[in-house]
Amino acid sequence: MAVAAVGRVLRLGGRWSVAARDGPRAQTLRVIYTTAVVQRKNVAASGPEKYTEAFIKKQIEEFNLGKRHLANMMGEDPETFTQEDIDKAIAYLFPSGLFDERARPMMKVGVFVAFLSTLAQYFKQHFSFADVCLFVYLQHPTEIFPEKRKIQWGEDGRPFHFLFYTGKQSYYSLMHETYGMLLNAQKYQDQMTAQGFPPEKEKKNLPGSRWLTKVELEEMLLEKLSDHDYSRFIQLLQKLVTLPYGNVEEKYMQKFSKEIAMQLQKVVIEPLKYDEQGVAFSTGEGQRKTARATAVVYDNGSGKITVNGVDVLHYFPVLQDREQLLFPFQFLDRIGKHDMICTVSGGGRSSQAGAIRLASAKALRSFVTEKEVEFMRQGRNRNFYFIIN
């Protein structure tokens, strides 16, 4: 009965695989039912497409060939045809009305090159527009096929890397390499001390650089890392740095460090200069948006200001701009005491006023005590200070 039922089901379709249990016990058939749909290879679940290295290489060769063809077509020298020239040539041949660059049709290099090779026969003369319409975008294969993990095993199924079965082969190989460097450094140090040379002073990592972040390291290795892994790696690098002879491996370590922006340095205040009459003056430079200004502030003045050879009333007819010039002097209570001659260029009227304001403030630093300079930087008015303190 059961067999008949089974047979009927078989006819309906699907596949039955019978799991037989070995052993002295009676055979119990456990039926596992799978449908044809499932039996078919699930392409979507197999992960992102993996490119073989050979494929990439072939693409690169074809790209270069295509590039040379294009250079010939445009009448340029194929040897010195850069990516920019390629872009210009494509833009010339196919002016596209689409604004977004990514929207413009992009074609895989392979098909493009195949097309070009047919075109090469009609080269220079028989360009029909329909043919030409097809190649629009020419880019180096590494930009089109983003760096993804290439297939890690060969045709026989054996993986290439010896650490493949750890799961994180790039990470562990990196750790292995770095530790090897560490051991080398220690061996070198031992050799040096054996020979009697004193150990070099420990070199501190310069404050202008930092190690790669976890995200950056993941991008480099093309593997996901855990926080713990990342911290282990950074600890190893730091240990390498602190070793006396660690700086031998500097080139290796530079791969994992990045420059950071210059930190705030202590500003040097220039001393006052004196001109022929013995009047003290000081120069300052300032900028705002695209305006650049230099200001020369003279002592023993009457509050006269000249901008680009013109009186301030004529150069800045708007009150708002003159107020901007007033602020540094007003802050220091030195409104009528200095003369100023400034030059300014670039920008509009508002940014020119702001640039001169900064330049005059910088110039006034030389006339003023350090404490006041600090107040200027923080924007604390002296009078206000007396109120809160």
């Binding site: 509050g303 009150l319 107020e323 007033l326 009528g336």
Partner: protein, 397 residues
Amino acid sequence: MLRSVKGLVCHTPKLDHGHALHTTAKDWLSSTVSQDVRILAERSRAIFRTSENDPANHAEHHEGCHYSIPLQEVKAVFPHGLPSPFQQQIKTFNEACLMVRKPALELFAYLKSSSFAHPAIRYVIYGEKGTGKTMTLCHVVHYCARQGWLVLHIPDAHLWVKNCRELMQSSYNKERLDQPLQASFWLKNFKTTNERFLKEIKTQQKYAWGKRESTEEGRPLGEVVEQGLARVRNASDAVGVVLKEIKQQCHLGSFRLLVAVDGVNALWGKTTLRKEDKSPVSPEELTLVYNLRKMVRNDWNGGAIVTTLSQTGSLFKPSSAYLPHELLGKEGFDALDPFVPIRVSNYSPQEFESCYHYYLDRKWLQHEKARTAEGRDELRFLSGANPRQLQRLAGPL
């Protein structure tokens, strides 16, 4: 009840007594304080005011001081001459105070020392925008009016070369154009200023205004003016007649003539007016301008010609131009040459202080920071000691 009232009566004197003491003390303190303030105010007033109201007596020690003109005189002498911000200031402060400044004093010296047998000397007041050229001119006009001169004051010659609604072809000369509205307006103000002269001066020839109207010889000039006011069509010609008569009779010596023109560069510049066929009008095609040009020529004696250059109302001139040859152009410069140039510049520190204290005294500067020294420095910086800028800055404060 009586007891309570008595109690009240008993108590209140004590309170009153205490109160009285308290109030008298306060009164005494406040009186002393107000006395001090008054003394201070008077002292500071002394710095920037002067009681010398006759411009003839203004000397160098009055420099920087404000003198006031009685309001009736303002109406008589300056029906149209003062700049409009100043007119508003007169209304607000209820007095007209002018500052005595060096250019005006210079002009007075020249006028006093010039001989009127010689041809009239031309003075051109020039300077940057907002430095006080028109006010200097008004000062001179006031001086001459006080001295009894006949004042021919054209408040702004630019008004005659732009924004004219009605342009008519002149009946006198076919090629010229009349401006009835401007002419009649000016005649009205001229009449207010120079009433008594209009009765004294007699016409020396017959003028026919139309088929039926005419003015005989020997009639007072007032009739010509009336004619111009009554028949607006003939107003520009009336102006021309008035100018001609005055010029002819000036050398006789019965009166002195002051020709005061503000914005004289309008007479030689371009106009924004167009004829009916859309062709541009040049200044000499306008009757008023043509006659005025004749006045400004120095072919008469017995008076002076004081003019001002003005960029503010001028047409087609860059805003940074203030020198005579820039604003007058070659033609104007040649026409006015030779002249005595008088430069008016921004306030000197002393004049600035005077103006600042005047505003404080008039309670025009209400902001509490404006009274402090820092406020004054800030005002000086922001205005650049320019009178107009200072006046505009002080407005919102």
